[in-house]
């Protein structure tokens, strides 16, 4: 382990962390602009040109607000909740391959923090931990609405995790590896997994919506029934952390979906581009394409939120257990049979 390696990884982590925070920040702005567009309004346009400074203004507002901890709340856990939500949102980016290797001189720099051979399972584990921030915060607030919201979040999370895991199994049958880097390399050019696993992708995406608590699955923060849900009692930057964590989750799950099903940093004609732009610019163009895919997914998240009304709670459970799980199992069986037939002939 030489010093250069440590510095390289450190810089990469810092850049990824910065980018995810920046994207989360501007997702709040984009969300309001998209909502405004879909509802034929203007959206925020006061702070700076086109309201581009709005996230900064929101951030300052969050920091300046009074910090309130309810007197009967479990003080320590009340503070741990938002921190945990933020932490679990951020650590998912560690295994995502952001681009192919950059070669500077003799040194090959992978644009991925770590390529563990259980990459998908790591993402899955991080997703399953994500619920703790909401649960702990909701319980520690000592508020009936927050508690209800925490319980909703937990049951929703567990229910949709099963379907998500099953949809990933079908993908693993196709790819034969759990390393995210290898999965992306297999989708070279236009051989994207979406072509082989369309049903699996739909299931995975619906589950991703549910796991990130986005509409139409945002039952834990359903304001008509639960006031603010788990963050009812929160104010100031702790509330900011919860809201921020949601946008980081959205960014990470968009990146995972783009990696698993939409080829990551691959695009048609990439060999030609790589040949003509060299070993530094070429991979960076791939990263740029990857980010375009991520932004497309984030836009899709927002589009759905402002188009489809929220599910009722029993409908949510019905869809998860009786719709998605049987569908995912059927997907596994069909994929298995097709692969067996192809290998036979």
């Amino acid at each position: 382990m030489d010093i250069a390696f440590v510095i390289e990884k450190f810089v990469l982590v810092a850049i990824i962390f910065g980018i995810s925070l920046l994207i989360a920040m501007y997702s709040t702005y984009a969300e309001r602009k998209v909502a405004a567009f879909l509802q034929d309004r203007l959206g925020p346009d006061r702070a700076g040109p086109f309201g581009i400074l709005q996230p900064l203004a929101d951030g300052v507002k969050m920091f300046m607000k009074e910090e309130i901890i309810p007197s009967n709340a479990s003080k320590w856990l009340f503070m741990v909740g938002p921190g945990l939500a933020m932490l679990t949102a951020c650590i998912g980016t560690a295994v995502i391959p952001w681009g192919s290797n950059i070669t500077i001189g003799d040194r090959v720099i992978p644009l991925q923090v770590t390529d563990i051979n259980v990459g998908i399972l790591y993402i899955f584990g991080v997703v399953s931990l994500g619920v703790y921030g909401v649960m702990i915060g909701g319980w520690a607030s000592n508020n009936k609405y927050s508690l209800l919201s925490a319980i909703r979040a937990a049951s929703q999370n567990i229910s949709y995790e099963i379907a998500m895991g099953l949809s990933i199994i079908a993908l693993l049958l196709v790819t034969g590896t759990m390393s995210l880097k290898e999965i992306v390399e297999q989708q070279h050019g236009w051989h994207w997994n979406i072509l082989y696993q369309p049903l699996g992708f739909v299931i995975f995406m619906v589950c991703a919506f549910a796991e990130t608590n986005r509409a139409p699955f945002d039952l834990p923060e359903c304001e008509t029934e639960l006031i603010g849900g788990y963050h009812t009692e929160y104010s100031s930057m702790k509330l900011g952390f919860y809201l921020f964590a949601e946008y980081i989750n959205m960014f990470v799950s968009s990146a995972v979906m783009a990696t698993l099903y939409f080829g990551g940093y691959n695009y048609p004609g990439m060999d030609w581009v790589l040949l003509h732009t060299g070993p530094v610019i070429g991979p960076l163009i791939g990263t740029f394409v990857f980010f375009i895919k991520i932004f497309a997914f984030i836009f899709f998240f927002m589009w759905v939120r402002w188009t489809i009304p929220r599910f009722r709670y029993d409908q949510l459970m019905h869809l998860g257990w009786k719709g998605l799980i049987p569908l995912a199992i059927a997907n596994i069986i069909i994929t298995g049979i097709v692969i067996a037939i192809i290998e036979k002939f």
């Binding site: 479990s74 856990l77 563990i116 051979n117 259980v118 399972l121 790591y122 899955f124 584990g125 997703v127 399953s128 931990l129 619920v131 703790y132 649960m135 702990i136 319980w139 508690l147 925490a150 319980i151 937990a154 049951s155 999370n157 567990i158 995790e161 099963i162 759990m178 257990w321 009786k322 799980i325 049987p326 199992i329």
Partner: protein, 165 residues
């Protein structure tokens, strides 16, 4: 380096498992249990068993403990509404504890310093090797247990279906 890390993490495991027992609030107990499981995950990684580590992470920390927390939050056990334990219960508890200590001491005395386990393949815990092992010699038990788990899940879904009269 490996040994010192092991002792550090092992100490943390012991401390947090003691906290599980000693904390008054059941929700805090569960949270300490989660941290204990996390230290177990670190142990698995130290043993080069990445797959087991991640599965421990997903299943125990991510699913089972969420359910524990879920139930305890619903029960809402507070110090205020907890019934006071009578003297008899305390006496029974002390006797049971003493029995446990005797058993533990006896079993500790019986164990000799065990031979260190030498793995034929130190990378057994890696995904590929584990998969080859599971789908090779242990094919039948593995498949049977997976069918068992699947049927349990299907059963749970079926139970929620309303019976048509």
């Amino acid at each position: 380096m490996g040994t010192s890390v092991f002792y550090f993490v092992a100490t943390l495991s012991v401390i947090f498992s003691l906290m599980v027992i000693f904390s008054k609030n059941p929700v805090h107990s569960v949270l300490y249990l989660i941290v204990t499981f996390f230290t177990f995950t670190v142990h698995y990684i130290l043993l080069n068993a990445q797959f087991l580590a991640v599965v421990n992470f997903i299943v125990y920390m991510g699913a089972i403990m969420v359910l524990f927390l879920f139930v305890l939050m619903l029960l809402n056990l507070n110090k205020d509404n907890e019934p006071l334990k009578s003297g008899a219960v305390k006496v029974v508890g002390v006797i049971a504890g003493c029995c446990l200590v005797v058993t533990l001491v006896g079993s500790l005395k019986a164990t000799a310093v065990s031979d260190p386990v030498i793995l034929r393949n130190p990378n057994l815990g890696l995904l590929k090797n584990l998969g080859k092992e599971l789908f090779g010699p242990f094919m039948l038990p593995f498949e049977l247990s997976s069918i068992l788990l699947l049927s349990a899940m299907v059963g749970a879904v079926l139970l929620t279906k309303k019976e048509k009269v």
